[in-house]
Symmetry: C2
Subunit: 112 residues, 2 copies
Amino acid sequence: MNENIIRQFKKGVLELIILKLLSKKEMYGYELVAELNRQSNAFHIKEGTLYPILYRLEDDGLMKTRWEQPASRVQPKKYYSVTDKGGQFMRESYAQWKALAEDITRIMEDAI
Amino acid sequence: MNENIIRQFKKGVLELIILKLLSKKEMYGYELVAELNRQSNAFHIKEGTLYPILYRLEDDGLMKTRWEQPASRVQPKKYYSVTDKGGQFMRESYAQWKALAEDITRIMEDAI
DNA sequence: ACAATGTGCTTTGTAATACAAAGTATATTG
DNA sequence: CAATATACTTTGTATTACAAAGCACATTGT
């Protein structure tokens, strides 16, 4: 019952965080999973969670990709980076999340 | 596209806010809708959003109800209040929301 | 008198998303 | 040579916010 509500809390914000991390540094999916699990206490995602989000963000034009062929590897890696539209979306959405978070905090921190 | 992400942001927290408001004062559904729309900027809910949440919370034993027959009215009103279990759930869940929110803030406020 | 609005509760259907689980393919380590 | 790590992909499930509509009664306005 309690794992479920955390799952609900995350809805939407994962996109935001992923956009943020990728706006700082181009990364490929597997790298991003490791980076997020390292940087965050609360967001420990698995690949099956991340990749569908990446595909969605790309479909919406918020991210662009390029395949790179590393010397040490037969299969190429798919690098993701944030488009202008993605950056704008990220900033706008974060502003809205903040407004919501302030509302929540104000109501929840109110004396009994 | 932007209305959608706000909808996602709300997932789970509506329960929290409803529990909080009802822990301060017993209310019936219609009253709660008005109260929430008054107290909050970001959470403007309609009845079709609220009542299913109330039923869920009651099913889970987080709230209890009583019908009251007002003199000025043929139909009774259904008053909701928070159970001990509901209060505990609210506090625990809010603590988890806060932890998540801090994570989000830390990551999102990080310099470009 | 009667239409419109307000109060109060309920049900049905839709879109979206986090996540687990499993699968594919190659490389590296013990 | 088996086990583990890297890297990407797909399928199915459970939840939830919300719109929209409906039902029943009361109170307005004209």
